[in-house]
């Protein structure tokens, strides 16, 4: 399986994603934002970080960079595109997934483990994951998901919510919402579910010595689903 990780100026989880993808069997290539062409890929990842310093709006400038037109075309033709954290912010700026990401409710950067409940398994990202709840890790300042009522209705009708913040038993309540996201949304799909944007970093959870191992579960499953 071939993957590509895009490096924007200010990306800082690009290496971590490269390490994780390779660990689980992807042949990964790093792609520079100013390139025009995507290499042949089964998966494209927009990594976390602070692309363009998060100036103007998080993800806004990166969404206009040269490589993004190829990424958008790739997504529109059914290619798998995953945006993590800043990558999620870039995805909403391109319009590939609906909604926006506001500043965290308590106006503070949060770095900690959270639990997320998988809302939909009829997609290549979560199909065949045995668990209902995963322990993931977040590290962001702008992860407060928001959209209009009309958008939310569409998202729910199409079952586009990917994961919600919850407790370890999968209970989705306000107290388990770390950043004020609407409906505890931690990640969403586009309508076709080939594009996934999510705030948590599975690439930081790939080793028992790190924050946990549920990221390993996620990547192992993902590569199997793509085969």
């Amino acid at each position: 399986m071939k993957s590509s990780v895009i490096t924007f100026p200010g990306s800082n989880c690009d290496r971590d994603m490269d390490v994780a993808l390779k660990k689980f069997g992807f042949k990964n290539k790093m792609v520079w934002h100013a390139d025009a062409e995507l290499p042949k890929s089964d998966l494209v990842v927009l990594p976390g970080g602070f692309s363009y310093g998060d100036y103007l709006r998080c993800g806004s400038m990166a969404s206009k960079s040269k490589i993004m037109q190829s990424v958008i075309n790739f997504a529109n033709s059914g290619g798998m595109v995953m945006g993590i954290c800043n990558g999620f912010q870039i995805l909403v700026e391109t319009g590939l997934v609906p909604g926006v990401l506001l500043r965290n409710k308590y106006l503070e950067f949060i770095c900690k483990n959270v639990f997320v409940k998988i809302n939909d398994k009829k997609n290549k990202y979560f199909k065949n994951v045995d668990n209902e709840v995963l322990e993931f890790h977040i590290a962001h300042n702008e992860g407060n998901y928001f959209c209009t009522n009309d958008q939310l209705k569409k998202i729910e009708d199409n079952n586009q919510i990917a994961i919600n913040y919850c407790d370890e038993n999968g209970k989705i309540e306000d107290q388990y919402n770390p950043n004020g996201s609407l409906k505890n949304i931690a990640g969403i799909f586009n309508k076709e579910k080939n594009v996934l944007g999510m705030m948590p970093h599975p690439e930081r959870m790939i080793d028992t010595s790190l924050s946990g191992e549920d990221g390993s579960l996620f990547f192992k499953n993902l590569i199997n689903n793509l085969k």
């Binding site: 200010g10 602070f50 770095c111 790190l210």
Partner: protein, 730 residues
């Protein structure tokens, strides 16, 4: 502007210093030259009051590749890997403008590290605020934490450990010390020594603006009521540009075109160019019209004194300019050839085709003033006699809860949750433990780091305090299973012109020297920050020690959380019942006098090294050093972290329960072992003449003392975790 004695005084120079400048130049300096002298001769850059004493610090060792004098220290961690590290203060700017002050402190120290070719892999910080009741404290704390996070998080470097304290002596002068560790190949370390004639001098990074002019001079003076006017001397940080600068510099460093490289930190272009010339025994000629400026009509004076951030100065091999420029273009950074190295041994500046400065380099560096300031020796205070009646009415559990909730002991999760501590995917021990630990990427090795200070002990008796801080750093590294290698120090003190403050400095340095010499824990880098005072009110002496150690196989790392029910808990090291200057004495008995706990360097070394032996033999399940709040506080924290309880029995001692549990004697650790290993552990401890007590057995979730007193771990956890969150949300 006319240059005379008054102008010099306005620049923070003393009258006799001005006379010396005129004598060295054999003429009156012009305004640009005066600015340059004031920037180089201030306390912050010249170390004029501290140089004499810093010479005492042991700086050599088998593992030391580079000691003080470079951008940062470098130590050997085997297999051609080296760690570059340093701690630096950004106290004055952070008090004036907490967000930018703290942010640029973090940015500055990271630049010091990557200037040497190392990729930063971990950040730490030591931050000290006034009393929680002081009306400025909350905003300063919030601003500093946001600033540290804002910069470090954007750079994508994990903040893995730190220290926060509150004391009214910081009401008018907070401390913000930032430390960075970087990883480099031993054969790819870069230095700041220029070499060769007619080599191009290159400016890279951000453009130069008017921010931070006189920042270093500001940091060399006390505060008064006009502090608000000093805001323009605080630099403004742009972590995004620094991230680009980091990547661009590392890309350029992969080749062989750099002769020398130096970041523009305090005193900007002035100190960076002069230091490179001085170390290479060369001259440098700069055309200031070539310097990329952010603002129009900047004068030579402003360009030379600006402390705009995210800039570097490079001496390049001839003919490599185009190749280097391509890299900086790719990262959208300025790149300009601004001058060349010369044989004149002078710093020569041109602007609009006129020579605007012409100063022999040695007058700025070797001939800079050095003072042997008067200082007062501190007496060891007399021990207090604690009356048994004072202790009778105290209930251990109530006292324990109070101590766990004390601002200087309580959980700092509110702070470190705002720092990205997991980016780079190698953090294997997060903040909140004895040390932060990161793996050396792609290897079995890991590096542990901690930062410590004990202002109370240093204030009570500087010599003992200085020793104690080094020992505490040593213990914090050993507690996670790391072999201590070297330290960096950030010496925060009041005015060197005050005999008592100067005495505190001299004796703390003496104490640090003695301990680091004995423990073979040399000082490889550091920084001195004097004038931490508002008007006449100085801070408590606060030397901060950043320690670094190596874990050869990260799978053997130790954490402090209790692991398993029925395991045994021991105390390593002897408890004498030293209560003076303990958290208990100061906060529960309200007794602020007396000597700090004695430091016995033999015991420190022996106890620590023996614990490392136990760890090497896989006999230790968890470990934690005993510090503020004594044995019971240490044990409680291990319970809280491991969500386990313990049945404690006070061993038969001459001292009473309160003294046994709350004393702050040094050289002690709490360890958890499996019952079946007891004999093996006891044998090793006996063989090495290490005293130990059997303290108790781990249970599900309650803390029992002598079978009669008990409290749930949940209750202790609440006491420990709620203070800071509640304080910040009010």
């Amino acid at each position: 502007m006319i240059v005379n004695e008054q102008a010099a005084v306005d620049h923070g120079l003393k009258k006799d210093e001005y006379a010396k400048i005129c004598e060295l130049l054999k003429r009156t300096p012009n305004i640009t030259e005066l600015g340059i002298f004031s920037a180089m001769w201030n306390e912050h850059c010249s170390y004029k009051s501290s140089r004499l004493h810093l010479k005492k610090l042991p700086t050599k060792g088998k593992k030391v590749i580079q000691g003080p004098g470079e951008n940062a220290g470098v130590i050997d961690i085997e297999d051609n890997d080296a760690i570059v590290f340093k701690i630096e203060s950004h106290n004055h700017p952070s008090f004036i403008e907490p967000y930018q002050g703290a942010a640029t402190g973090v940015g500055g120290i990271m630049r010091d590290v990557f200037t040497m070719g190392a990729r930063p892999i971990a950040n730490l910080n030591s931050i000290h605020f006034g009393s929680p009741q002081n009306k400025k404290t909350k905003n300063l704390l919030r601003g500093v934490v946001h600033g540290i996070g804002g910069y470090g998080n954007c750079m994508g470097v994990p903040t893995i450990a730190g220290q926060t304290s509150f004391d009214s002596s910081y009401n008018g002068n907070i401390l913000v010390n930032a430390m960075t560790l970087g990883l480099v190949k031993k054969d790819k370390i870069f230095y700041s020594k220029a070499a060769g004639l007619n080599k191009p001098v290159i400016y890279v990074g951000s453009k130069t603006g008017r921010d931070g002019i006189h920042g270093a001079s500001m940091a060399s003076a006390s505060f008064d009521e006009k502090i608000e006017e000093k805001k323009p001397t605080v630099q403004v940080g742009d972590p995004f540009t620094e991230k680009l600068l980091l990547e661009a510099c590392l890309e350029l460093m992969a080749g062989d075109s750099i002769i020398a490289i130096q970041d523009m930190g305090a005193a900007g272009l002035t100190s960076s160019s002069i230091e490179m010339a001085s170390k290479g025994n060369l001259g440098i000629e700069i055309n200031l019209n070539k310097v990329p400026c952010r603002e129009t009509k900047m004068t030579p004076y402003e360009i030379m004194l600006s402390e705009s951030q995210e800039r570097m100065l490079i001496v390049l091999e001839n003919g490599k300019e185009e190749q280097a420029k391509k890299i900086f273009d790719k990262w959208n950074l300025d790149f300009a050839v601004i001058g060349k190295t010369t044989k004149s041994k002078k710093i020569e500046l041109y602007f609009n085709e006129e020579k605007v400065a012409d100063i022999p380099v040695n007058t700025l560096v070797e001939n800079s003033p050095m003072y042997d300031r008067k200082w007062k020796k501190a007496k060891l205070p007399k021990k207090n006699k604690i009356k048994k009646e004072d202790l009778k009415h105290l209930k251990i559990i109530d006292v324990l809860k109070k101590i766990l909730a004390n601002p200087n002991v309580c959980s700092k999760e509110w702070i470190w949750q705002q720092y990205d501590h997991t980016v780079m995917g190698d953090t294997i021990q997060k903040p909140g433990g004895d040390s932060g630990v990161v793996r050396v990427h792609g290897t079995d090795k890991a590096v542990a780091a901690s930062v410590d200070s004990s202002a109370i002990y240093c204030w009570a008796h500087p010599l003992t305090g200085g020793k104690q801080v080094v020992c505490e750093s040593f213990r914090n590294l050993i507690s996670v299973g790391a072999k201590p290698i070297a330290i960096t120090n950030c010496l925060n003190f009041g005015s060197p012109e005050n005999e008592e403050n100067m005495g505190e400095f001299v004796e703390c340095v003496q104490g640090i020297s003695e301990a680091s010499e004995y423990l073979k824990f040399p000082v490889v880098s550091g920084n001195v920050s004097f004038y931490n005072q508002t008007k006449e009110e100085g801070i408590k002496p606060t030397p901060a020690i950043g320690g670094v150690g190596l874990i050869k196989n990260y799978q053997n790392m130790i954490t402090m959380d209790f692991k398993e029910v029925n395991n045994l808990v021991l105390v390593i090291g002897k408890t004498e019942g030293h209560i003076d200057q303990s958290l208990f004495a100061r906060n529960i008995l309200d007794e602020k006098n007396g000597p700090p706990p004695e430091v016995n360097l033999f015991n420190e070394k022996n106890n620590g090294e023996t614990l490392l032996k136990l760890i090497d033999n896989n006999l230790i399940k968890s470990a934690h050093d005993v510090s503020l709040g004594g044995i019971i506080t240490a044990v409680s924290k291990m319970c809280i972290k491991g969500k386990k309880g313990i049945n404690i029995k006070k061993p038969k001692y001459l001292i009473n329960e309160i003294e046994y549990f709350f004393a702050e004697d040094q050289g002690r650790y709490i360890i958890e072992i499996n019952k079946k290993d007891f004999k093996k552990v006891a044998d090793i401890l006996h063989k090495n003449a290490v005293h130990f007590d059997e303290l108790g057995t781990i249970n599900e979730n309650e803390l029992y003392i002598n079978d009669k007193t008990k409290v749930t771990i949940d209750e202790l956890s609440t006491s420990n975790k709620s203070w800071l969150t509640n304080y910040m949300s009010k």
